[in-house]
């Protein structure tokens, strides 16, 4: 990479890098913006995590001891909103910013200024959301699903700020998705066909389409809330001919694809890491792509499985039950392919691989409890209990979050030029696995026994399970401090990493130096499908 190759045919030369705060405010570089996204996500992860610990501290024993129910409601709501929109989604966008251009041989994202704008909308959106906690009447207290009329007729005055922050986060996601689609479809190195793309790129392409399809619906539904609250409309008020159930339909039309927005890129990360450390090519590349696309398409016709108890017609319940169970098929294909990749591989257990293997097992647990929840008559028992909380935390924490952490350990050598500390990483992994299962596994039992979610107090028979969950929650939370320590140490130094940091790794990202220089692939890199495609015969 000579300085000569930075100048393009039009005589354009990269400006000298800006310094100080201006560098970060004005940056259009995909690596810098990727880092900003990841740091932002980490900050939000700790803010949302602190709220989770407030919840777990209150639930440590029966009775009301630490917080008032009103504040407890705000904590459950904000914890959910911040983790979903502030931590998990931006983490995946950060990884996409860093890795998609490197994996497809592009010099940057397709629309770099839009990229900067997408990122900086997020700090604004979340300061606005967090500031509502300090307003008269408190912050959002209606649950992260903000069902009307809790979020309209009975909402605190600050709800308008919540709505506006959702709008900002939504604009950020839509623009980010447009950028990712344009990058993947338009910026690949010429010889790379769609079916030659690494699976992380494929899963993100499909995720971006999901974002484009559902974030506008979320914008629409919060706009209708805004009108109901401030301008006297009655969309979600039956007195004027509207229907609160309409809110739930619109919300979950967004909400179910949203859960795949938070898991498809995780599938992509797992599909990168498993082949690397099994030292085998991914089993069933094509079926992985088709399975991802099938999951995405099916995600649009299953939303009412969140609403079985609201009073749907029988035909609708049956349809949504069977459609939901159908999703287990492509998901099963994926798990099968990962396991088949491991089969007869020469497996080594570096930290990224540990997190990925734990992801596969624990995500499968969450997936199976999802199939249980899809069964209508059974859901009448599970609905709104801790069983649901156990289910979606299994897919999101030991699922999505573990995959994100695995991706961070996997690509840190490329970002910093140094390997993350293996010993500390192992401590981080084992404490996280123990903590997360101690937190969420007992919730299956308290839920099956009937403990309702989102309530600050509970009956005595749930005390033991809650004690375990709270201990696990604090263990998991504290062990994430190790992640910060590992990352900070890795940025500062460590064992230097070569270009190809992992022996079995494949892909264009391992052909650029470690750490990756600010500008890479000023000219399209060589790519020979017969040799380099992950889907080659």
């Amino acid at each position: 990479m000579t300085s000569n190759s930075y100048s393009s045919a039009e005589g354009h030369i990269h400006e000298p890098p800006l310094r100080g705060i201006k560098r970060w405010l004005l940056t259009t570089n995909h690596k810098e913006i990727g880092s900003l996204y990841l740091i932002f996500s980490l900050v939000m992860f700790f803010i949302g995590g602190t709220m989770a610990l407030v919840i777990r501290a209150e639930l440590f024993q029966p009775g009301l001891q630490l917080v008032q129910p009103e504040f407890f409601n705000q904590m459950t709501t904000m914890h959910g909103l911040i983790m979903v929109f502030g931590a998990v989604m931006p983490a995946f966008v950060g990884l996409a910013n860093w890795m998609v251009p490197l994996q497809i041989g592009a010099p940057d994202m397709a629309l770099p200024r839009l990229n900067n704008f997408s990122f900086w909308l997020l700090p604004l959106a979340f300061s606005l959301l967090l500031s509502s906690l300090f307003m008269e009447g408190g912050g959002p207290n209606f649950g992260w699903t903000f069902y009307a009329p809790l979020s309209t007729t009975y909402a605190p005055p600050s709800t308008n700020f919540f709505i506006l922050s959702i709008h900002l986060a939504g604009i950020s996601s839509i623009l980010g998705a447009i950028n990712i689609i344009a990058t993947i479809l338009n910026m690949r190195t010429p010889a790379m066909k769609l079916m030659d793309m690494p699976l992380f790129v494929w899963t993100w392409l499909i995720t971006a389409f999901l974002l484009l399809a559902v974030m506008p619906v979320l914008a629409g539904v919060v706009t209708m809330m805004l009108l109901d609250i401030n301008f006297g409309t009655s969309f979600f008020n039956a007195a004027g001919g509207g229907d609160p159930v309409l809110f739930q339909h619109l919300f979950w039309f967004f909400g179910h694809p949203e859960v795949y927005i938070m898991i498809l890129p995780a599938f992509g990360i797992a599909s990168m890491i498993v082949p690397t450390f099994a030292r085998k090519r991914l089993f069933g590349y094509r079926s992985m792509v088709y399975a991802t696309a099938s999951i995405a398409i099916l995600s649009f016709v299953v939303w009412a499985h969140h609403m079985f108890t609201v009073g749907l017609p029988l035909a609708a319940q049956l349809f949504f039950m069977y459609a939901t169970m159908l999703i287990a098929v492509p998901t099963g294909v994926k798990v099968f392919n990962w396991v088949a990749t491991l089969f007869h591989g020469s497996i080594s257990f570096e930290v990224p691989m540990l997190f990925t293997l734990a992801f596969i097992v624990q995500f499968t647990i969450g997936g199976l409890s999802g199939v249980m929840l899809a069964i209508v008559p059974a859901d009448y028992q599970y609905h709104d209990t801790y069983f649901v909380v156990a289910h979606f935390h299994y897919v999101l924490v030991p699922g999505a979050v573990f995959a994100i952490i695995a991706g961070v350990y996997y690509w840190l050598p490329k970002w910093t030029g140094f390997y993350p500390d293996e010993t500390l990483g192992r401590w981080h992994f084992w404490l996280s696995v123990i903590g997360v299962n101690l937190t969420f596994f007992p919730m299956h039992f308290s839920g099956l026994a009937g403990m309702p979610r989102r309530i600050p107090d509970y009956a005595l028979q749930f005390a033991d399970f809650n004690l375990l969950s709270s201990l696990g929650g604090f263990l998991f939370g504290m062990s994430q401090l190790l992640l910060i320590w590992v990352v900070v140490r890795c940025v500062r130094g460590g064992k230097p990493a070569p270009d190809k940091a992992w022996e079995g790794a494949e892909g264009l990202e391992w052909q650029v130096p470690s750490p990756a220089p600010l500008h890479t692939f000023s000219t399209p890199p060589e790519f020979i499908p017969e040799r380099d495609s992950p889907g080659r015969a």
Binding site: E10, I178, A213, A219, M224, S234, G242, L246, L250
Partner: protein, 285 residues
């Protein structure tokens, strides 16, 4: 492909756009929630317009100095196309709400369907569309609704012809007939402007004579939600077309390369198609 890539330089407009958006949302939130801050909202609004102006000005300048290659052009095209797709989904949510209310919610409130429980709420309620009598007295339905075969029909004719005139302008630009382009573009703008005026007259009529307001139950809500957001999009599209007309006047665009023109016309056609949906499902059926 030239064998190398063009990467746009960094710019201060995106972050300044976030700053003015901050003014806008803080102003909007506090004026809605606590009754003060409307001035801040307006300041933010002006700021957003200014930032859009300077940001696009830079892009146009770069485009005209020949900095963009074919790849950048494709990125812009994809960006615009998928942006319009997201707008389609935004309207789809509102149309979905309209269908749900009409097909399910209101008949169920009237006791139809296997559940039939919600009929217990207001036993006297009988479902109809347009919904002139709301279930509860807390809301007053409209006395009358807009007759589709007067102003809305006129508006349909106006908007459909504006799509045709815009296509003629586009063909003229492709054939390098610049005066013809200006003329038909101007005509498109006039048609769009008249559409907005007629829509304004319709709204005044609805509020003053028909009792059709935002507060007039769910009929009023869906009516103004769908036509209102459509009207906003027409306004935005008209602003964009005005800029395009000024650029044609200044000699921008060539017969082969005029993506700004095309993007604006895609948007205008999209707005037109949404109107056809509105005309059928909001006014006629």
């Amino acid at each position: 492909m030239s064998g190398s890539y063009y990467v746009p330089a960094s710019s201060k407009w995106p972050i300044l756009m976030v700053v003015v958006l901050a003014l806008l949302v803080i102003g909007a939130g506090s004026s809605l929630s606590f009754g003060h801050g409307f001035g801040l909202f307006l300041a933010g609004m002006v700021g957003v317009l200014v930032m859009m102006f300077v940001w696009f000005r830079d892009v146009i300048h770069e485009s005209r100095s020949g900095l963009y290659d074919a790849q950048m052009d494709r990125s812009f095209r994809m960006g615009m196309a998928w942006f319009i797709f997201s707008e389609v989904m935004f309207f789809a949510a509102f149309f979905g709400a309209l269908f749900y209310i009409r097909v399910f919610a209101l008949p169920w409130l009237d006791g139809e369907g296997e559940k039939g429980i919600s009929a217990l709420l207001w036993p006297d309620f009988s479902a109809s569309w347009p919904l002139l009598k709301t279930p509860s007295d807390a809301f007053t339905g409209p006395a009358e609704v807009i007759d589709p075969w007067h102003l809305p029909l006129l508006n349909t004719v106006l908007l459909v012809s504006s799509s045709i005139t815009l296509t003629i302008a586009h063909h003229a630009l492709k054939n390098d007939q610049r005066n013809k382009t200006k003329l038909w573009l101007l005509l498109t703008l006039i048609l769009g402007f008249v559409f907005l005026v007629v829509q304004g007259i319709e709204y005044v009529e609805a509020y003053t004579q028909l009792g059709l307001t935002l507060q007039a139950g769910v009929y009023g809500g869906t009516f103004f939600l769908l036509t209102g957001f459509h009207g906003l999009h027409v306004t935005l599209g008209a602003c964009v077309l005005t800029v395009i007309l000024l650029r044609v006047w200044r000699g921008h665009f060539s017969s082969r390369s005029h993506f700004g023109f095309e993007a604006a016309s895609w948007y205008w056609h999209f707005v037109d198609v949404v109107w056809l949906g509105l005309f059928i499902f909001v006014y006629v059926v």
